[in-house]
């Protein structure tokens, strides 16, 4: 069984802070990590491989330094890694990103594609389902448990607002997972050694179709444009509540309702 895992290298948003004077993001010293949800997807893939055999192939699209994310994936146990990288892919929105990943997945070949439910920098949750549409395969989002996998079908639990659905699908299939699905393993010593020596396979524009796909990737291929960015209006400031306990609670409840529209 060939299992592709899509991962994204992201800035650790928990470390991203706003400079209150300039209203800009302070990214200095912010570490790059593998998108946390994708680590759970990788773990799910490794578990399927460990039980059923096959290969786990990790694919990322990004600048050359995204190679670090791929080496980390090897240290956890990935068998092969691919870096989809080309200046022509820069500035891609979810449509153009999904298009490039679709071409890559088609070239690599797979039975299952796994990815995290969303990336913590963009939070769109769109690239998985969009890629599935391009590949003309079914997909299931928000998987919290894989109940059963066979050569031709799979049974999973899909998280919904009011509980979960048990869903069955034929393969090939794309799945996006939530954190609840598993606890990711730590890199082993052997894995870390392998990561150092790992071969990073590269896929550039030429490898994915060259001129033929140029209009569908990168900024040129993106239907959406970022017009501007700005700091959120209601920056949360540290606030000591004053007055009697009742008054403090009243002020807090008022703000809570404003934020939650409760």
């Amino acid at each position: 069984m060939r299992i592709i895992v899509f991962v994204k290298q992201v800035p650790d948003t928990a470390e991203v802070k706003i400079n209150p004077e300039t209203n800009t993001l302070v990214r200095e010293g912010v570490p790059s990590i593998i998108n946390p949800y994708d680590v759970h997807a990788l773990e799910a893939a490794l578990q399927i491989r460990d039980h059923k055999g096959g290969k786990v192939i990790v694919v990322t699209m990004g600048p050359p330094q995204a190679e670090d994310a791929l080496r980390e994936a090897v240290s956890m146990g990935a068998d092969e890694v691919f870096l989809v990288s080309d200046r022509a892919f820069a500035g891609a929105d979810t449509w153009a990103t999904s298009y490039a990943l679709y071409r890559a997945a088609e070239k690599i070949g797979f039975d299952i594609i796994l990815c995290g439910k969303q990336a913590i920098d963009g939070d769109t949750a769109q690239v998985g389902p969009e890629t599935a549409e391009f590949l003309n395969i079914p997909h299931i989002s928000y998987i919290r448990k894989i109940e059963d996998v066979s050569e031709s079908s799979i049974k999973v639990q899909r998280l919904m607002d009011d509980g979960y659905d048990i869903v069955e699908s034929s393969l090939p299939l794309l799945m996006t997972v939530v954190k609840e699905i598993n606890t990711p393993r730590l890199p082993s010593l052997k894995g870390k050694m392998a990561a150092k020596k790992a071969v990073i396979n590269k896929l550039d524009l030429e490898a994915l179709g060259g001129k033929e796909i140029e209009a569908n990737v990168g900024l040129k291929g993106s239907p959406t444009q970022v017009r501007n960015i700005f700091a959120p209006k209601c920056q949360v400031q540290k606030r000591e509540l004053s007055g009697t306990p009742e008054e403090q609670v009243a002020a807090l409840v008022q703000d809570l309702r404003r934020i939650r529209c409760a």
Binding site: A90, W95, D123, P129, E133, P223, T224, V226, I259
Partner: protein
């Protein structure tokens, strides 16, 4: 298109370097240089004091723009589960009403399902038309037939704007629709306005964990598609007297390769998964006993959240391990984390410190949790929490 620096104009001040949210500007030979990390957000263009940063057209930019005037109407995907239309659908009709008025066009709802009750409600909440597709294959949610139906309806009727709830359903199948129609999709919008000059939809959404907001446009493709989270938009007035048209559509070629075998409701305490919850009300040793956690459950329910706990409370046996937040429990990052009677040991803090907002209630004014808190109240949780519950209840009734 590219963003470039006109070297002769650059005064080497470095302001743009700091302004770039993507760290894509460097100083090279004392001039600003835009690297391939550029996401074309134009933040640098507005801060450059010398006007040295400009957009530059590139070959291939001038796309043949499809005839956008062929598209009109604002559509709302009306979500149903087990035949009941969900609240977010009515909220979207409220938002859609404004957009339709600003564009001088109609507002419609699209309802996909088996048999759905109270279809008329969509009209009473503001839809002028309801496209209704009743088919057994649409009774339970599967991504493929839902996206096929939506794609086919959009191709036939050509709406200019489509809104859907950012729910497990909307967020899952709408991307397939956008991919297939080769158009843009903007997730989790917090504000939607029509740009007066161009007539385009201005879609505002948070990024980087809510640290910045971005305005997104989809200028050359239609429809413009956006998802919006529940409880973000306001409903319009419910009006019994509104009249509208229900258009039954028959889509014979829907197929699915996924199948829902069973639907399991989880209404108990674990209904909301801790890691998915937007609000977490957590208790520690200060709760004193299991009764304290009953109180927290009530507060969590009022806020649409889940209950968390510190290790101390779990070790005391007041609440089960599945609620534990921290190094040996779960790592969470909700929008709001309310820490009740939790002192804030490092092991707990690592599990929740990235929450957007932390509210701490503790009777010890020296409690370390206060250093991480956005709001804090020094006081006994067993007095403060009941007060919060009471006031929240009163406020929601007024």
């Amino acid at each position: 298109m590219r963003i470039v620096v006109i070297s002769d104009k650059c005064v080497s001040c470095g302001v743009c370097v700091d302004s770039c949210p993507f760290s894509a500007i460097e100083m090279r030979d004392e001039k600003a240089f835009i690297t391939e990390g550029c996401q074309f957000c134009r933040a640098c263009m507005s801060v450059c004091p010398a006007g040295a940063i400009v957009e530059k057209a590139e070959e291939g930019d001038a796309k043949t723009v499809a005839d956008l005037s062929a598209y009109s109407g604002v559509w709302v995907f009306a979500e149903q589960r087990e035949g009941k239309i969900s609240g977010v659908s009515y909220e979207l009709l409220g938002a859609g009403r404004r957009l339709a008025n600003d564009r001088g066009t109609y507002l419609a709802a699209v309802l996909l399902g088996g048999t759905v009750e109270h279809t008329d409600d969509l009209i009473k909440w503001g839809a002028e038309k309801v496209y209704l597709c009743s088919d057994p294959i649409l009774e339970k949610f599967n991504d493929e037939p839902y996206s096929q139906a939506m794609i086919s309806l959009i191709q036939q009727y050509k709406p200019e704007i489509v809104l859907a709830g950012a729910t497990p359903i909307g967020r899952s199948f709408i991307p397939r629709v956008a991919a297939s129609l080769r158009t843009g999709l903007t997730a989790d919008c917090t504000s939607l306005e029509i740009d007066k000059e161009s007539g385009n939809l201005l879609q505002v959404r948070p990024a980087f964990g809510g640290n910045i907001m971005a305005t997104i446009l989809c200028p050359n493709h239609r429809p413009q598609i956006a998802t919006v989270r529940p409880r973000v938009m306001k409903r319009d007035e419910y009006d019994e007297s509104r009249k509208g048209e229900i258009i039954n559509v028959d889509l014979p070629s829907l197929t699915t390769r996924t199948k829902v075998l069973d639907t399991v409701k989880e209404v108990s305490e674990c209904m909301l998964n801790l890691q998915e919850a937007e609000v977490i009300v957590a208790g520690g040793r200060g709760m004193a006993d299991p009764k304290g956690f009953k109180m927290l459950e009530e507060l969590a329910e009022l806020l649409g959240g889940a209950v968390g706990a510190s290790r101390a409370a779990v070790d005391e046996g007041w609440v089960s391990y599945s609620h534990q937040v921290g190094q040996t429990g779960k790592t969470v990052c909700p929008k709001i984390y309310i820490a009740c009677g939790i002192s804030g040991a490092v092991q707990h803090m690592v599990g929740m410190q990235s929450s957007d907002m932390i509210i701490a209630i503790n009777k010890n004014p020296e409690a370390p949790i206060f250093s991480a808190a956005t709001y804090y109240i020094v006081g006994d949780v067993n007095e403060i929490v009941p007060m919060m519950i009471k006031q929240l209840k009163e406020a929601s009734q007024s």
